[in-house]
């Protein structure tokens, strides 16, 4: 009997001390990297407002994808198709804008993302296939679709309302990409942390059976998170198209791993039950800052990749160690 009690006491003691570190790993890591670059690159323009705002602008699409992925991963699923969705959505928007104008183009881009996400979700929730396999397949499928959509050509987007609203413009002196980031993070955080839906997403990823016997419709949650992820990847596609004033099948192709790393470093568990939108934002900014700082340090391309890989490895290792004991 004393053994059982001692064990319990131990666990509660550990709980208090672990709690702080676990929650702040990503923020401490971010701060450490920021301070390092601020010191090392103090004469290289790293600390200029222009450069710092560039980092936020450059990471905006990845941040928005990361928000969707937090929902997916917190529900215990994965979405590997987000990169392909970005390209399909950007191309769908570009082609439609050029043919039918602004509003149909935006709808086509977002609609394409939502639709692909919905198909992913339906296959996972109702056909009961593992999301890893479903989205691995749709990743390849839609990479092919985006290539065939315009026969590998890039499509220019000249509608200045579109490019201004989604990528290159600004409102009240703040670039539109920053507005999108702020809005997406705020809404994402509110829904994830403060709504019943968010609570049900966490419960589903934590213990799907417990969620089901508590009256939560687990399939509906799975459908919803993958649809959200698809929709946000579609929005990221619009932002890329707006920023580049063009769409191409390569958009988003290299983002998947960055986004997954940002989400995990930001405190979301790979197997569900725990997640953080603000953490994902900071994780994403950290990735962007890393790219930016390593370039400004004047490292060769291969050295940049090696250092970036090592830092991400360290960050992921620390955040997973803290969470999994």
């Amino acid at each position: 009997m004393p053994i059982a009690n001692a064990g319990a006491a131990d666990r509660t003691g550990g709980f208090a001390s672990r709690f702080n570190l676990q929650q702040y790993v990503v923020y401490l890591g971010f701060l450490a990297i920021f301070l390092f670059f601020a010191v090392v690159l103090r004469d290289s323009g790293f600390l200029t407002v222009r450069n710092l705002s560039n980092i936020v602008l450059q990471t905006a699409p990845a941040t928005i994808m990361a928000i969707g992925l937090v929902f997916v991963m917190a529900a215990g699923e994965i979405d590997l198709s987000i990169g392909s969705i970005v390209a399909v959505a950007a191309l769908a928007a570009a082609v439609t804008i050029n043919a039918y104008g602004l509003a149909p183009g935006v709808l086509a881009g977002l609609g394409a993302g939502l639709l692909i996400g919905f198909v992913n979700g339906a296959l996972v929730a109702y056909v009961k296939l593992p999301s890893f396999l479903v989205t691995l397949a749709t990743m390849g499928l839609f990479a092919g679709v985006s290539r065939s959509m315009t026969n590998l050509r890039s499509i220019p987007v000249t509608d200045s309302t579109f490019t201004g609203f989604f990528g290159s413009g600004s409102l009240l002196g703040v670039p539109s990409l920053i507005w999108w980031t702020v809005i997406a993070v705020a809404v994402g955080h509110l829904v994830f942390r403060e709504s019943r839906f968010g609570a049900h997403v966490l419960a589903t990823g934590d213990n799907a059976r417990a969620a089901a016997v508590s009256g939560i419709s687990v399939p509906r949650i799975r459908l919803a998170v993958l649809t959200i992820s698809g929709g946000l990847a579609g929005l990221a596609g619009l932002l890329y198209a707006g920023r580049l004033q063009a769409a191409k099948y390569t958009l988003g192709e290299t983002d998947l791993m960055t986004v997954i790393a940002a989400v995990i470093v930001g405190g979301t568990l790979l197997n569900g039950g725990k997640g953080s939108i603000v953490g994902a934002l900071v994780g994403s900014l950290m990735m962007g800052m890393l790219n930016n700082g390593l370039i400004l340090m004047g490292l060769s391309v291969s050295d940049q990749m090696i250092v970036r890989g090592l830092i991400i490895l360290a960050a992921v290792a620390v955040s997973l160690r803290e969470k999994n004991r």
Binding site: P61, P156, R243, T250, E253, I295, L296, G298, Q304
Partner: protein
């Protein structure tokens, strides 16, 4: 370094002279520019002193890293160093236009005087380079320039391969290997891609015009390099008596080589483009590979760096500068590696030559 460059230049003009008889045709720039030999671009000692005194800086913004980019990159590095220009940043976009845009924005924080770059997607690259252009940075490009940009005003120049010359030299090398007669298979890149289209076309044209006893008896378009083996298989099955096969570049040529080996075929010769270690190894061991035509990639880097630096001190630069290429055979493989990539021939190949 300087003497090496000089001998390079001398050698280049020599090769131009010796191949001047070949089929008519010339490389045209991506926007229809007339080519100018890279060797024609020189800086006076006064200009070089002025450049060295000005403490310029440069950033290299690549589309992706490959053996080719590496060679261009090291050529640019060496030339910038020679001219006292510091390379402050270097990036790799992994073929992603969005990332290249971020890379340009990022390097601008270091306020470089020059950006040397290869655009991922020339058709839409204006949005990528606009911030640099607006900041007054001298832009010099490799292989292609953003659509809508005007040479002389928006950018300094484009430096590229002499693509026609490469295809032409491949045809000459094939003729040398076959004794100017025989049946030839032609595997071309079946895609709308400026670089390969010009090289493939020049090969075909040269064979047809200059070598009446050589016939292209089999043609196959390759859209996906992963399918090269199947294409070669089909071609060899239908034409077992081919004397030579031209392959559009080295990677798929390796698939053709393995198909020939599997069929026990040792008489069909392969000519392809780009230096490649396994292909070179087969060549020096007396296998099917007869020649590899390589561009002077290192020299592209030297030229683009020199052009950008020169433009900062008022030097006029031609819109489209092309470097030479060379046919690398068993006899000049070590020399070829040095000239093309400014590297020693790989150890495996060197050992096999002993």
């Amino acid at each position: 370094m300087r003497t090496m460059l000089k001998s390079l230049v001398a050698l280049a003009s020599l090769t131009v002279a010796t191949t001047a008889f070949a089929a008519d045709g010339a490389t045209t720039g991506p926007h229809g520019e007339t080519p100018t030999p890279a060797a024609s671009l020189t800086l006076t000692p006064q200009q070089e002193d002025e450049i060295k005194a000005s403490k310029f800086t440069a950033a290299l913004v690549w589309h992706e890293m490959s053996e080719y980019t590496n060679a261009v990159n090291s050529g640019a590095h060496d030339e910038f160093k020679r001219l006292g220009i510091e390379v402050v940043a270097q990036t790799d976009a992994g073929f992603d236009a969005a990332r290249q845009k971020s890379d340009v924005e990022t390097v601008l924080a270091k306020k470089p005087s020059i950006i040397v770059s290869l655009p991922v997607d020339p058709a839409t690259a204006a949005a990528v380079y606009d911030p640099a252009r607006a900041a007054g940075v001298k832009l010099a490009f490799v292989d292609n320039s953003p659509a809508g940009y005007e040479q002389g005003k928006d950018y300094v120049t484009i430096v590229s391969d002499d693509l026609f010359q490469m295809g032409n030299k491949a045809a000459v090398a094939m003729a040398d290997a076959l004794g100017k007669k025989g049946k030839v298979g032609y595997i071309f890149h079946d895609a709308d891609f400026y670089v390969t289209n010009q090289r493939d076309g020049a090969f075909k044209k040269t064979v047809e015009q200059d070598y009446p006893d050589m016939k292209i008896v089999a043609e196959a378009g390759m859209a996906d390099p992963a399918r090269a083996e199947e294409i070669a298989q089909g071609m060899i099955t239908q034409n077992p008596d081919l004397d030579g096969i031209y392959v559009t570049w080295a990677e798929p040529a390796l698939s053709v080589l393995s198909t020939l080996r599997a069929a026990g075929n040792s008489h069909t010769r392969i000519v392809t483009l780009d230096l490649n270690e396994p292909a070179a190894l087969d060549m020096v061991k007396g296998g099917n590979v007869a020649a590899l035509v390589a561009d002077e990639a290192y020299n592209i880097g030297v030229t683009v760096a020199r052009a950008a630096a020169g433009s900062l001190v008022g030097q006029e630069v031609q819109p489209f500068l092309v470097v030479d290429s060379l046919a690398v055979t068993k006899d000049n493989v070590a020399d070829g590696w040095k000239k093309s990539l400014n590297k020693d021939v790989p150890a495996t190949v060197a050992d096999a030559m002993k």
